[in-house]
Amino acid sequence: MRRYTAEDEQRIRMQARVRDWMRAGLLRPEQGAALAAELRTDLKRTNELLRAALALFTAVIVLAFVTLLFVSFEPHATSWALTLALVAVGCVALAEYLVAAFGLYRYGVEEVLACGSVLLLAFSVGYGIEATGFSSSPRAWDTELLLVASAGGFAVYRRYGLVYAAVGAMVGAALLPFQWPLTDAVQRSLATVAFGAVFAMTRAAHRRDGGDFPGDEYDNLQAAACAGLYLALNLHVTDVIPAAPSGAPPVPTWFYWSTYAATWLIPTAALTVAIREKDRALLTVGIVLALCTLVTNKPYLGWTRQTWDPMLLGVVLIGGAIALRRWLASGPDGQRGGFTPARILERDRDILSALATASVAWHGRRHEPPPAEAPGSDFAGGRSGGAGGGAGY
């Protein structure tokens, strides 16, 4: 089923490790070069940014081509269904050809063609069902779309090993209950079951295969399923997203408080497992989920948010990071239980440099001028001021 052999997949992962080890000074350059030559495969890969650009332009081609066909043909569901199905087949065939002829691996082009074919197929089936008159309600349309996209995403993952396609399939399957006429609690429970099932399966597979291929893929999927599980259960998660609807959906009280408990239990369990197994993907997800829990705790309890809440969160994060770093560094050989705060790989430095450069984007929002009319200053004779900004309010 897999388009690439397990040996090639493992070699590619080893190439990345050798590169990391060489940059960290754990291997000499000549050793790295010798090992890279030994690990060479026939597969062609490119830089991540060029991969993204190639994916972008491939998406432009597919989108423009499909739209071109749409404006050229009569607007009829049957012809649209057939056209989309043909384009979907064409995309898969082209992806297969590019992999076979050029040995493309994570090159952007074949990825977009494969994933695009899934979406095209989903819309094709939707129009096909509409044309047969089987069902034309928007809810049935969405259900069918999610079903086909989910199955297709899984197939793409199985064929090309694209983990994000599997994540998309998982999310699609979990969104299915939200298309059905069920209560919020039941919808969320079913989504939780879907994410939970994926988590259980991928966790078992990861424990079986370890950190080497394909265990690393299951590791990422396990972390994604854990995040999905949490997001399905946290009723206040949209409160932290600006412009998103805030407030919990109408659910029974017992369900509300169960989900509150879950928002604490899931990050705790994720962090516990991640620390025990030194699982980086789950550790990252566990940290992010724990932060989400801290941020949504007040809305859950119905408490008023205060302006100093972010400051308290900041103090907790800063204090926690410094204390943890000191505790780890004070252990024998600067580590405790194998955890070290020291940087081992240069990749960490690259990520922090990229983060620092990218921070221009969010610091740019800090330069708004102060309001023109300011309340009077208490340095200027009295604490009561204009504009309603007196000391008493």
Partner: protein
């Protein structure tokens, strides 16, 4: 083969030494597991959260807290941060200097963000400069850039560059960029940032900052030029400028193997050229046909280039 099997095979073949095999096996088995990145991320998130809460609290509760308390607290925070950095910093060097302590970079960033809140508050309450309030931006940008160079801090460098952009009047929003005045300002800002970056690089003063300068300058200039193609008085002139700038970005990116600049050049140039071509096409089918053909050309071009210089294998 697993990682352990590969390492053992390489050790047996004499490609790596026993010590190297042991060290690498320990890493592969996660006997030694670095949480350096996670700790830094927590610290950075903590500083941003604290600074955001500080600004929000000052804005909302100044009347209850009083000016003296707020100004004193903010000044104490800034002074404390700076004295921490000055006490622990290594002597100034024009070369790259590692952080003195784990929290060093973030303490300086916190001090700078608190300084920004303090300036905002002083102008908000006392209105010393009124319509010339943006002088604060210029002064604080100068301070941040000086601190970034003194303490070798890229976070503060980025803060300084974004504050300088604020003084120029550049806002990173599409609405702003598509007006004439903002376009020229952004272009000027981009040219200045690139020039300063090159100048400092030539002087060998913190040469590793060059890439940060170029990222900011490239986006500001290319965005401004592309917006000129969309809404400028002489679109073809703007397009010409865009193509020249994009070519320079691509050439430099290929030269130093920094593919982000190649992507900037290709994407911005594609957007500009497409806008100019589509302006003269009146049939939707031809317009879509253009995107198919030009998309294929872009993919083929990028593919050929990636095979020559962007190989990962």
């Amino acid at each position: 083969m697993t990682t352990a099997q590969y390492l053992e095979a390489w050790r047996s073949a004499g490609v790596i030494t026993d010590d190297q095999c042991a060290a690498l096996s320990a890493l592969a088995r996660k006997d030694r597991f670095s949480v350096h990145l996670e700790l830094n991320a927590l610290l950075y998130a903590g500083v941003l959260a604290f600074a955001a809460g500080l600004g929000w609290t000052v804005r909302e509760h100044f009347a209850n807290l009083g000016d003296a308390v707020i100004v004193f607290a903010l000044c104490a925070l800034v002074a404390g941060s700076l004295s921490y950095c000055l006490e622990r910093a290594a002597p100034y060097s024009t070369a790259q200097v590692p952080s003195a302590t784990f929290a060093f970079d973030y303490v300086l960033l916190l001090g700078c963000l608190a300084f920004a809140v303090a300036l905002w508050y002083i102008e908000f309450r006392f209105q010393l400069l009124r319509e010339r309030w943006d002088s604060y931006l210029l002064a604080s940008a100068g301070l941040y850039l000086a601190l970034a160079y003194r303490f070798d801090n890229r976070f503060v460098l980025s803060l300084g560059l974004s504050t300088l952009a604020g003084w120029f009047g550049v806002r990173f929003s599409p609405e702003g960029f598509f007006t004439g005045a903002m376009r020229n300002v952004a272009l000027g800002y981009g040219i200045l940032v690139a020039a300063v970056g090159v100048w400092m690089h030539r002087l060998c003063v913190k040469a590793h900052f060059l890439e940060t300068y170029f990222h900011v300058a490239a986006n500001a200039m290319l965005f401004a030029l592309a917006s000129g193609v969309f809404g400028g008085d002489s679109p073809r002139l703007w397009l010409l400028g865009l193509l020249v700038a994009a070519a320079a970005a691509i050439e430099w990116g290929i030269h130093v193997l920094r593919f982000a600049f190649v992507v900037y050049g290709v994407v911005y140039a594609y957007v500009g050229v497409s806008r100019e071509v589509v302006r003269h096409i009146y049939l939707p089918t031809l317009e879509l046909g253009y995107f198919v053909v030009s998309g294929v050309a872009a993919v083929v071009g990028l593919f050929v280039m990636s095979r020559r210089v962007g190989r990962e294998e």
